[in-house]
Symmetry: C2
Subunit: 264 residues, 2 copies
Amino acid sequence: MSAIASPVRPAAPVRFLARPELATAASKPAPLKTQCSTCHLKDLCLPCGLTGTDVARLDGLMFGRRRVKEGQPLYREGDKFQFIYAVRSGTFKSGMTLKDGREQVTGFQMAGELMGLDGLANGVHATSATALEDAEICAIPYAHLSELATTSTDLQHVISRLMSREIVREHSLMMLLGSMNAEERLAAFLLNISQRMKARGYSANEFHLRMSRAEIGSYLGMKLETVSRTFSAFQQQRLLEVDKKHVRILDLDGLTRAFEARVQ
Amino acid sequence: MSAIASPVRPAAPVRFLARPELATAASKPAPLKTQCSTCHLKDLCLPCGLTGTDVARLDGLMFGRRRVKEGQPLYREGDKFQFIYAVRSGTFKSGMTLKDGREQVTGFQMAGELMGLDGLANGVHATSATALEDAEICAIPYAHLSELATTSTDLQHVISRLMSREIVREHSLMMLLGSMNAEERLAAFLLNISQRMKARGYSANEFHLRMSRAEIGSYLGMKLETVSRTFSAFQQQRLLEVDKKHVRILDLDGLTRAFEARVQ
DNA sequence: CGATTCCTTGAGGCATCTCAAGGCAAGTGG
DNA sequence: CCACTTGCCTTGAGATGCCTCAAGGAATCG
């Protein structure tokens, strides 16, 4: 809760290592090297919007690639910030754990999405990221990336824009948490997942949720029982078919109306 | 709600004007020019952490200065993004208004704090900012700032860190909205204000709130009546003395405990 | 001085939480 | 292969914290 209860005290300038080693404690498997220019995610991920020249420069960074097993953390709150991570495959949750053990999920990340940008503020990760299924990520050394950014205005803009997008995303979540009821929250969540699946070439109407009811509840600010009841309610309204984690959207418009009821 | 209901669709690269005019519709008074190097807020604001050389470079941008009357918007959702704004004096609220008229306040900004970073994502402001009292701001032309950033690694880092700090701040707010009860929310809010007042040289124990009960409620995800009742409850517990917008903290530790009850 | 805005307080209602029980599927060990 | 455990989900019943609606007071302003 530091940003809530703490002043906006300016932190000392963060100094990055000139050459952080790619292999940290969390990355036991020998890191494969990866290139953005040949990556099938390049239109969703970091290089999106960059010219061929800049993408080629990103290739020069030779991102480390790392597998993360289901349930394993990629990084934890308090870990030193060195990398930004891009999801190659699998799904992650990120969030904070309170000392009393309760968890607040602040986001779910899918292929092509970035994690770890919160670490820049204080040189330390403010959240943890955990794989919800066996996953693979690119570890992008921030020091190298920002060094590269000094040579490319476009890359600078892309990075800034990605950070800004995270801010906008969180605004929306605050709106959800601050002023929507249970049905609206779950509808918003499902529509969001649906669109992200679609953007990745999967069906927008039928998908497998990777997170538990408790994780959805934490993300949406409600208890797991309420999540479950709301799923059942949607099913009764013939908006969805739900079987555990498998979801089929029957009435996208209806779901959109449930979401827009208040939000418009 | 776009980021909730929308895919993380990469936006087209945003092109900034080479020379956006400083005088927009909202800035009628002749813009005074301001220098960071002589500003009394320089340790709280953008230049914090920068060397003398870099601060001198910021001076070269000659930020426009602008007065904003109480109740007036500085920018609105949907406005084209050109400036980042730094509060010189006064207090702002920022937030989004839904088409049904409901407002979600996403933050309050005091002297030295920045506004408008959400505009970068899509080249358009995602939130509105409104003065809660007569105020004065610096309008920092983003195109110039980012141009300047190409010449200074430190400045780049400072900007990135400020954006990251906004992300971290919002994580905390999500935690608050997602898993705290009314008393914890208000305690967290008051402690946060208290610390920010202190950082600005004001009393940490006695201050004047610039926002209404409804605005506090919107920010904290509760109704204004509940805010009012919670204030009364704190007063009965001898944690506070409240008279409308004037607050005196009687028992900082007690208030901290009310906040840490769950958060620790 | 009336109109307006903002705050406080009360009473009752309701959405969500809490507590509890049971079902289902996958994993484990005998 | 079966008994048992474990984790996750669903559903019910009752409790409760916050909301809704309503009234009245205090301060501000034209």
